[in-house]
């Protein structure tokens, strides 16, 4: 079984919009692959149809069976991580083996605070 892993420097799982997120992709592969790709993306889950946006990606060519690679992504201004009753928007970084699409993923939180924006809470005036 392939091992594909993403870690962030300092094990940070929360980043602010505009931050530079750095980390390391590590892999142990059973078979040769064409390439690896590190992707920064957001995705929705909930009642309706799913949506996904790949914000940035780094391709690694000439891949050895075992290895690691440092990466850095500039976090965009949005969207923020949020949740509600009908939809949750989450961010993640994944390491994908091509063409098999085997992957390892690390969920991160993007927003001004270290908690996702919660649309289920109401503000009392």
């Amino acid at each position: 079984m392939n091992r594909l892993e993403i870690t962030t420097d300092g094990s940070e799982a929360w980043v602010r919009p505009g931050d530079q997120l750095t980390g390391t992709a590590t892999w142990e592969l059973e078979d040769d692959v064409d390439a690896l790709e590190i992707r920064l993306f957001w995705y929705t889950s909930g009642k309706g149809s799913r949506d996904v946006g790949i914000v940035d990606a780094r391709r690694i060519e000439s891949v050895e069976r075992h290895g690691s690679r440092a990466f850095s992504f500039q976090i965009p201004d949005g969207p923020f991580s949020f949740t509600g009753k009908l939809i949750t928007l989450s961010w993640a970084i994944e390491l994908v083996a091509l063409p098999s699409e085997d992957s390892g993923r690390l969920d991160i939180l993007v927003g001004p605070q270290p908690v996702e924006v919660d649309l289920r809470t109401t503000i009392e005036r």
Binding site: S45, K47, G48, T83, K85, T121
Partner: protein, 193 residues
Amino acid sequence: MTAPASRRAADNPFSAERIDALTLRPRGWTWDGLLARLEELDHRAAVVGPQGSGKTTLLIELERRVALATPRIRIDARDPRPVADAFRRAPPDAVAGRVVLVDGSERLGWFSWWRLRLGWRRAAGLVVTRHAPGRLPTLVEMRTDPALLRELVAELTPGEVDRMGIDLDGLFRRHRGDVRSCLRALYDLYADR
């Protein structure tokens, strides 16, 4: 601020991605058997069943398992030019040797249907979904019943089906056997628990 009165969408077992991930296949069939039957029919066949019976889910799985399949083409009833749109997504010159998969073919009129069949005549096959038999030999007929709904709910919420205390048979009746619609209703019930 008050505490949330509902569950996070991402934690709802009836979310769209979890429903889509269900390995729904017609009762009494194995995938090998279904693919052999498709080959017998020269890859020209229809998946038949009422709304919400899992036809689209089956077509998605066929797309994955039939190595030469084109991406699915969904016929939209609101599209004023369904033939042009279908040919744009699966150009006749590009489908030679491949199997074209069409979701919602009952929405095509007779003339549109035959234009597509002629346009794709060099394709290796044509598999469509329909609400009723016709136009192509039936590959399989999708049927739903309360037992199927209970099985799917048990798969989505292991160990919780009895604890939920929901009358699934009644839900099935109210949604006239549309299992997808039942699962969407369960999303709302579960969200507010």
